[in-house]
């Protein structure tokens, strides 16, 4: 993604959800995108798939996949891309699964749409196998989504997403609505998928802990901007941006100190974000230059940071 700028046209004015964001994802790599509400992380996933709502506008930028700019693709190429080359799974399994369609029919439709002329038995076999690989009992392939448990639904959605072996899987907060143990299971599953299929993943979440377990690299977003990116272990051990530091210390570590270090202030109003560095009202290091100038994304070794003081 290069210089991606996306805005929403709301009743109360224009909201810039992504401000000139540039990110790269390598093959067979899991990139964790961490941010809170308003950071733009979900907009990123939707923009890549060109699934943004009608009132959203991509104002500038490119999304290059396999050498081609997705944003400039025609409808036909886009249709072939979605589901086969790039797949997405959402937080709500009912965004990925149609409640009145049996699981097997989801697969059947997918195969049909992309020109695979499988017979009914072949679809059945392939779908059941995929489900089993994702940890869902084979029999469930003939069920409706509501007959599966929450975790199974999400696994089925993942199975569907991976059915055509896409090169990129976008997971948009897929575990946020799940119980703790199920969440851990899904993360384990994704690790297995990464090992076996070598799929690249964009793992969007607000939970740094999950990123630590799954992602090779992490990108931290705040108020529509990328503030830090780098190798996961290093970013967590040695965060450079004040926001990343604050995020890491805001969550108390079990077994560690019980003192809490809250981040002062409130998330910015995205209709009117703070001038200069958007984090400056809440930053312990903020100075005059932070209020005036937006820090550019600089590389410090392997790390990208957007801070005047990094």
């Amino acid at each position: 993604m290069r210089e991606l700028r996306v805005s929403y046209n709301t009743r109360r004015g224009r909201v810039e959800a992504l401000s000139d964001v540039s990110l790269a994802l390598n093959e067979a790599e899991v990139l964790g995108v961490v941010g809170e509400s308003g950071s733009g992380k979900s907009t990123l996933g939707l923009a890549i798939m060109r699934l943004l709502p009608r009132y959203a506008k991509v104002e500038r930028g490119e999304v290059i996949f396999n050498g081609k700019d997705i944003l400039k693709m025609d409808e036909e190429s886009l249709r072939q891309l979605r589901g086969r080359e790039i797949a997405i799974v959402f937080q709500d399994p009912y965004s990925s699964l149609n409640p009145v369609t049996r699981i097997i029919d989801h697969f059947a439709e997918l195969f049909r749409e992309h020109g695979y002329n499988y017979s009914r038995e072949e679809v059945l076999r392939t779908a059941a196998e995929l489900l089993e690989k994702m940890g869902v009992p084979r029999e469930k392939v003939l069920d409706y989504p509501h007959q599966l448990s929450g975790g199974q639904r999400q696994r089925a959605a993942i199975a569907l997403a991976l059915a055509l072996n896409p090169r990129l899987l976008i997971a948009d907060e897929i575990t946020t609505a799940l119980d703790a143990l199920v969440e851990a299971q899904i993360v384990d599953l994704l690790r297995e998928v990464k090992k076996e299929y070598k799929t690249s993943m964009l793992f969007i979440t607000h939970n740094m802990g999950l990123v630590a377990q799954l992602a090779d690299r992490v990108a931290v977003m705040y108020a529509g901007k990328l503030v830090e990116a780098g190798e996961t272990g290093q970013v967590i051990r040695n965060p450079r941006h004040p926001y990343t530091k604050a995020l890491l210390t805001a969550v108390p570590r079990i077994g560690g100190s019980r003192s809490l270090q809250p981040i002062p202030g409130e998330p910015p109003d995205m209709r009117n974000p703070p001038p200069g560095c958007r984090f400056h009202p809440r930053c312990p290091l903020a100075s005059e230059v932070c209020k005036r100038e937006t820090p550019a994304l600089r590389s410090i070794g392997d790390r990208l940071v957007a801070c005047h003081y990094a």
């Binding site: 929403y8 046209n9 709301t10 009743r11 709502p53 009608r54 009132y55």
Partner: protein
């Protein structure tokens, strides 16, 4: 105030202008255009002058030495149509206002009670309301108007009953879903009783839906009133009334005296359109839809 951006905002603007104009005209009408609305006699300098009937629009004639222009003509009894329209506006709007007020208050009250109380009371009242709702409004109004008789209040009552179920259903539905909301539970935990919860917590949340329904009821009431008076129910001549005039005008239309019926008809259309646009505009503002962010 900025330029309207969406369909709803245009509706709001246009609707507000039309309804404001209508109401204004109905109020100051006889100051602006005094004329003989209810009889063919015009008092000029103390003497009674007979106005000729069936004058076409924009006719100017000499009466008692002065020139008078009848901008919309006169009807079959020599009454100035323009003044009749304006006076009729007052009557029509009064009926619409009264019936809207009665139906909304009754419907809201019953909806609140029924929704919050639940149980057998709710089931019985809902049954009655559903039955009433299934009958066409005009039929209900006709039946009641025939029973109650003529006059402003009777007419308003007859029309109001037909709209009570709309408010009932809407408010009851909202009460049912609001009852389960955590902020209502929080009120209970604070020790609030049913009355307080219903009035202070639940009722204000129904206002947006009610507000967008009111203009629509108003518009509907105007049409129903026109329908009743068209059929000769509810009003007493010579009270000016658009529906009544429309009916009378119908008879004279084929003879070529088109203005007697067309102008009241236009008045009905424009007024109803104004209120409907207002209702549509309000609806969009107060109940924003998902795809408009």
């Amino acid at each position: 105030m900025r330029k309207p951006r969406t369909f709803g905002e245009w509706c709001l603007l246009l609707g507000s202008i039309l309804t404001a104009a209508t109401v204004l005209l109905s109020l100051i009408g006889d100051i602006v255009a005094p004329g003989n609305a209810t009889s063919s006699i015009l008092i000029i300098d103390g003497s009674r002058v007979e106005v000729p009937p069936l004058l076409p629009p924009l006719s100017s004639i000499q009466l008692a030495g002065k020139t008078y222009t009848f901008h919309l003509g006169t009807d079959q009894l020599g009454r100035d149509i323009l003044s009749r329209l304006l006076a009729g506006a007052r009557f029509v709007l009064a009926v619409a206002f009264l019936s809207t007020a009665i139906s909304s208050l009754a419907g809201i009250l019953l909806g609140l009670l029924s929704g919050y109380a639940g149980g057998m009371f709710d089931r019985v009242v809902s049954l009655v309301m559903d039955s009433l709702y299934s009958l066409p409004g005009l039929i209900v109004a006709i039946a009641l108007a025939a029973l109650l008789g003529t006059g402003l209040v009777n007419m308003s009552l007859a029309i109001a009953v037909a709209y009570i179920p709309s408010y009932f259903r809407m408010v009851r539905g909202q009460v049912l879903s609001l009852k389960a909301m955590p902020f209502v539970e929080a009120a209970k935990i604070a020790g609030a009783g049913s009355l307080s919860i219903t009035l202070r917590q639940i009722l204000p949340n129904t206002f947006p839906s009610i507000a967008s329904l009111l203009p629509i009821t108003f518009a509907d009431a105007i049409i129903t009133e026109a329908g009743l008076s068209f059929l000769g129910l509810g009003i007493e001549p010579p009270t000016p009334d658009w529906g009544f005039d429309l009916n009378k005008g119908r008879q004279f239309f084929l003879a070529g005296y088109w203005w007697i019926g067309v102008f009241p008809g236009l008045a009905i259309i424009v007024t109803v359109l104004g209120f409907l646009l207002l209702g549509e505009g309000l609806n969009e503002i107060l109940n924003p839809k998902k795809w408009e962010a």
